[in-house]
């Protein structure tokens, strides 16, 4: 009874935090002066611009998806399944762009390729004019988002490779070479992971606001933000968000039909540690050079550009002077957000894993739907719900930022918890129950300790995504509570390139340092568990 009551409370919390804001904005968009009206949506169908935007959004997301999956799956196999040297180093290297706000990558490439960029200084503006022209538009957006989302197919490929029973590949090796085994056994078995990666990349690209906005490519999230922020047309902003929600909903429905059960049961095969590695032989050196070159272009070059750009006299001192308070706030909100995300995600994950309430599947779908929605849409929803004098304890305080984090990112910590809880034999909790332990006691002393790696991983992911959030925070932050990503955005208007680059470097350090420390803790925990 305690368990069901508590989990019902969690469901209610999720409703208030994430579902009500979106419903609130939807309902408000359907009424004009107290009467039901579809006028905001009429414009959506009539305007040719909406179809252009849809075309742009689809083109961007499709291209990014195809390119990341095409490059990410082979890279994932190379890093997870072969004897390529420095595999762990490359894995960490390729993950870095995913950890930092996407627009920082765009800023960096703009500093290199833009009209007054480093390349123009070196080779002359005329020689680099074409590159600069291409960068500001679809090609630039595709390239930046490719760099940012490439780790998703790489990581999911590596994770799904670990779920393959090594016996299957061993049997294959008796009659075939690795080429045929990868084609005939490995890839079909990791196909759900590849499809999941493709879907995630598509949804994240579809909802991405900051990069298309920075590179001046009109897509639906930019239109929704502009309608709200530049025209204060709340209803048009909601209408512009509807196609985003519809596409998100459609893809999630497909995922629930074809993939969901497969991803719930995502756990390493018992013999994964003994899975045979593919010997690359004579091609090993060339593949190493190719992977290193890819890492150089995708990760090292943008970082080096930022380092060079920020090397001006006093850039870091000015950056800290101007944004030191924002940095501290960002860290505090990210820590608070990550802690609450971990708790909420753990409880949600427990509900989904144990199926303790009949609503479990809906709860899973809500959280993923909210994750896939653009942050700007969630931000508009939060304002719609909480902007009243009675709710000032939420609206005029950082609570509204934290609520935004919880609404958007609970899916991440929830899915991590589901995977971790799935590895705990139900008999553990059952035995404690038989011995007379109440539910709280079982959770505190059996389930949570056994799931501690998932909790730490969930906290880390929650911290990174809270820290890098721009779309929600930019819309809802109360006066005096702006975060570092928002400060970078506002300073971009006429701020010097040196200052912006220094702020970006500080942002990267604030993300990677704690992430690195926690990663190391996770490694230690993994080794201890292995012993």
């Amino acid at each position: 009874m305690t368990r069901r009551l508590f989990l019902a409370f969690i469901v209610l919390l999720l409703l208030v935090v994430g579902v009500l804001p979106v419903l609130s904005m939807l309902v408000k968009s359907l009424f004009v002066e107290g009467h039901f009206s579809l006028v905001a949506y009429g414009g959506l169908l009539r305007s040719a611009r909406q179809w252009t935007l849809m075309g742009h959004s689809m083109a961007l997301s499709s291209l990014v998806t195809v390119l990341t999956v095409t490059a990410g799956v082979p890279l994932g196999i190379l890093l997870g399944k072969t004897d390529l040297p420095l595999r762990r180093f490359f894995t960490v290297l390729f993950v870095i762009p995913l950890l930092i706000p996407p627009y920082i990558v765009a800023v960096s490439w703009s500093d290199l390729l833009g009209g007054g960029g480093l390349l123009a200084h070196l080779a002359g503006a005329e020689a680099t004019g074409a590159a600069a022209g291409l960068f500001f538009g679809l090609p630039g957006c595709v390239f930046v988002l490719f760099c940012v989302f490439l780790p998703i197919p790489i990581l999911l490929t590596m994770i799904f490779l670990r779920t393959i029973d090594p016996g299957l590949e061993e049997a294959g090796r008796l009659v075939a070479g690795w080429g045929r085994i990868v084609k005939g056994i490995t890839i079909p078995l990791i196909l759900p992971g590849v499809l999941l990666a493709g879907m995630l990349v598509f949804l994240l690209s579809f909802g991405e606001f900051s990069v298309p906005n920075f590179l001046r490519y009109d897509v639906f999230p930019v239109e929704s933000f502009t309608q709200f922020s530049a025209f204060y047309n709340f209803k048009a902003a909601t209408a512009a968000a509807v196609p985003l929600a519809a596409v998100t909903f459609l893809l999630l429905w497909l995922e629930s039909v074809f993939l969901r059960e497969r991803t719930y049961q995502l756990r390493p095969s018992p013999g994964a540690g003994f899975s045979p590695l593919i010997a690359l032989g004579a091609g090993r050196r060339w593949l190493l050079v190719s992977v290193a070159l890819a890492g150089l272009v995708i990760v090292i070059v943008p970082l080096v550009v930022l380092v060079i750009q920020s090397a001006g006299a006093g850039a870091y001192a000015e950056a800290l002077d101007r944004a030191g308070d924002s940095l501290l706030r960002s860290l505090a909100y990210a820590v608070g957000g990550a802690t609450l995300l971990t708790l909420l995600g753990f409880c949600t994950g427990y509900l989904i894993q144990t199926k303790a309430l009949p609503l479990w599947r809906s709860v899973d779908s809500w959280t993923i739907f909210l994750f896939a929605l653009p942050g700007t849409v969630i931000g508009i929803g939060l304002i719609s719900l909480w902007n009243t004098p009675r709710a000032n304890l939420v609206y005029s305080t950082p609570v509204i930022i934290i609520l935004g984090y919880l609404a958007k990112y609970t899916a991440l910590t929830s899915r991590i918890s589901v995977t971790q809880l799935g590895r705990i034999p139900p008999s553990m909790e059952e035995a404690a129950e038989v011995a007379g332990a109440g539910w709280w006691r079982r959770m505190a002393f059996i389930v949570a300790p056994l799931a501690r790696r998932g909790l730490v991983a969930g906290w880390l992911v929650g911290y990174i995504f809270s820290l890098r959030d721009t779309g929600i925070t930019m819309l809802v932050y109360p006066a005096g509570h702006e975060t570092l990503p928002v400060r970078i955005f506002t300073l971009m208007a006429n701020g010097s390139a040196e200052l912006i680059a220094a702020l970006c470097m500080i942002m990267i350090a604030a993300t990677l340092l704690p992430a690195g420390i926690l990663w190391a803790i996770l490694e230690v925990m993994t080794r201890k568990a292995a012993r």
Partner: protein, 341 residues
Amino acid sequence: MQKIALLVGTIGVLGTALLLGGCGRNQGGDRVVVVYVSEDQVFSEPILQDFERETGIKVKAVYDTEEAKSTGAMNRLIAEKENPQADVYWANEPIRAEVLKQKGISTPFVSKQAEDIPPVFKDPDGYWTGFSARARVLVVNKGVQDRPKTILAYTDPHRRGRAVITNPLFGTTTSEIAALFTIWGDEKGREFMSAMKDNDVAVSTNNGESADFVAAGRYDFSLVDSDDAVNRIRQGTPLAMVYPDQGAEGIGCFIVPNAAVLIKGGPHPGTARKLIDFLLTRETERKLAFADCAQIPLHPGVQTPPELKAIKDLKVMQVDYAAVAEKMVAIQPFLKSWMGL
């Protein structure tokens, strides 16, 4: 165990509530002021920091982003009409201040610091007061021999395809076009816009981009804000700045002052008045003139950098900013269709 969990939970909730309660709407009493700012943060923040240092009053600010086309703060004020969070609005042009007046979001305040600011830059009822202005100027590539001297150069057939203008749906370009409509009348205004389009004018996303295009030689000239021009000239780009329509028959140069606005029902009205007084001082205008934004002081006799003309040396376009604000709303459908939207 349940009691412990309950205790920990209660302490956590109470602690959070206390922490966040301290951040509520009226927190700080007379030692805090909340300001929403449309002027670029990089220029406005140092002024607000000076105010903090001189008065000990903590400034909490919300800044606009370029992405919101500098109207995000104003729209936030409109959204919060029934639940005001801000005390002061620092608008980067008076049109936004007029919109707030018309929507009943601002309240009058006549500062003694503004007594010698020319009346054309102040609302007659005290709803907003202008200070530190940008001029709308023509930025011309130095390689162009026959430099344009009037905005009518946009319709000159000899300059077909050689001019660029910022998207007229946003920012100071919208304001200037609306101002032209109020002076010329709708018919001549539409003719000018059509002639400009027929003359193959290019459209950029913002004033900075327009100036960069001209500096790179892609176009000969563009109408931009004086700060965009001065900024780039100081960086050594091959640009010249022309104050348009200064001749005897010219309509003058459109001036875009900042505007200080007191918000109705704001949580800290006392500190709000102190901040507005501070923004309207001669010293604030001097600092903004010598900053990279290079804004023209409106108080007479304030020192200016050599690149800037003093306001008394300019032929200023004589406009009623309230009429411009109304016209701006009225011509939005025309401008959208002009843009092909």
